[in-house]
Amino acid sequence: MDGFFLSIGVGLCILVFLALYRVVFGPGIFNRVAAVSAIGNKTLIMLLIMGVIYKRIEMFIDISLVYALLNFICTLAISKYLEMEGDK
Amino acid sequence: MRILSLIIVILTAAVLIYGTLDMPDCGNPDTPASQHVSPRYVTRTMEETATPNIVTSVLGDYRGYDTLGETTVIFSAGMACILILRKRRRQ
């Protein structure tokens, strides 16, 4: 079963890599933000998968939870900045 | 300037990589780092501090003074920001 989760993790890794394309090249700031939040979601799941692999998932849930909560704040801050930009 | 910094960077990297040649492999459980001081933290944290999270017990107790310093660093950063940026209202 570990092998299965590991392969899911690897799959997510590949997805993260793909999303990184948008982060690095992705024209404009908005695409990047979208891609980063996508990466955040994948990270969240990958953390849990690592927890499963380590057999200590309860230790990793908190981190995932933090991501669920704070990724949101981060995105809000960026979008607020983008909205308020220009009219300082 | 760019060339100079590139040279410095490459030099530093060379020194560092030279240093890695003698390092134990990553993940090797027999390194001095894992053998000398840290085993005690692992084996005796429960009986000495009753805290299963070893990191917390080391952070809070064995090396608690570092953490005091850390808190002070944060405190200084806060005060530093206030000192640097705070302006009076009239402006």
Binding site: - | M1, C26, N28, Y41, I74, G78, C81, I84
Partner: protein, 126 residues
């Protein structure tokens, strides 16, 4: 050879990462870029420390059977070395604190010179 690379991989990556940060700190002319370089530099060091702590086949440095009265013998070999983690917690805190102060200073600089480019600031100082 493969073992060699696998064993040293983390170290080399941390060196490369650190040098990226270092280069950015030295040669980038934008102040915020320098701060970003600083961030990368510091995280590279953290990677190094965490690599020191890693132990193959060991689990997290949180005791697994803490509350069953010594039924399971605790062996140091089966837990990852916690000490570097502790050090790096402190280092991250320092990193954040430095980031805060650096940004405050940058804002002050911007207030004064109305630019973040080092070259332009130097021109204005003269």
């Amino acid at each position: 050879m493969f073992d060699f690379i696998v064993g040293k991989y983390n170290y080399w990556i941390h060196i490369i990462l650190m040098m990226i940060g270092f280069y950015a700190m030295m040669s980038k002319r934008n102040l915020i870029k320098k701060i970003i370089g600083m961030n990368i530099f510091q995280t590279a060091i953290i990677i190094f420390f965490i690599s020191i702590a890693a132990k193959r086949g060991a689990t997290l440095p949180i005791l697994e059977h803490a509350h069953d009265g010594g039924e399971h013998a605790i062996e140091a070999i089966s837990y990852i070395n916690p000490l570097p983690h502790v050090l790096m917690l402190t280092a991250i805190v320092v990193m954040v604190a430095t980031l805060g102060v650096a940004l405050a200073v940058v804002i002050l600089v911007y207030r004064k010179y109305d630019t973040l480019e080092e070259a332009e600031i130097l021109k204005k100082i003269k």
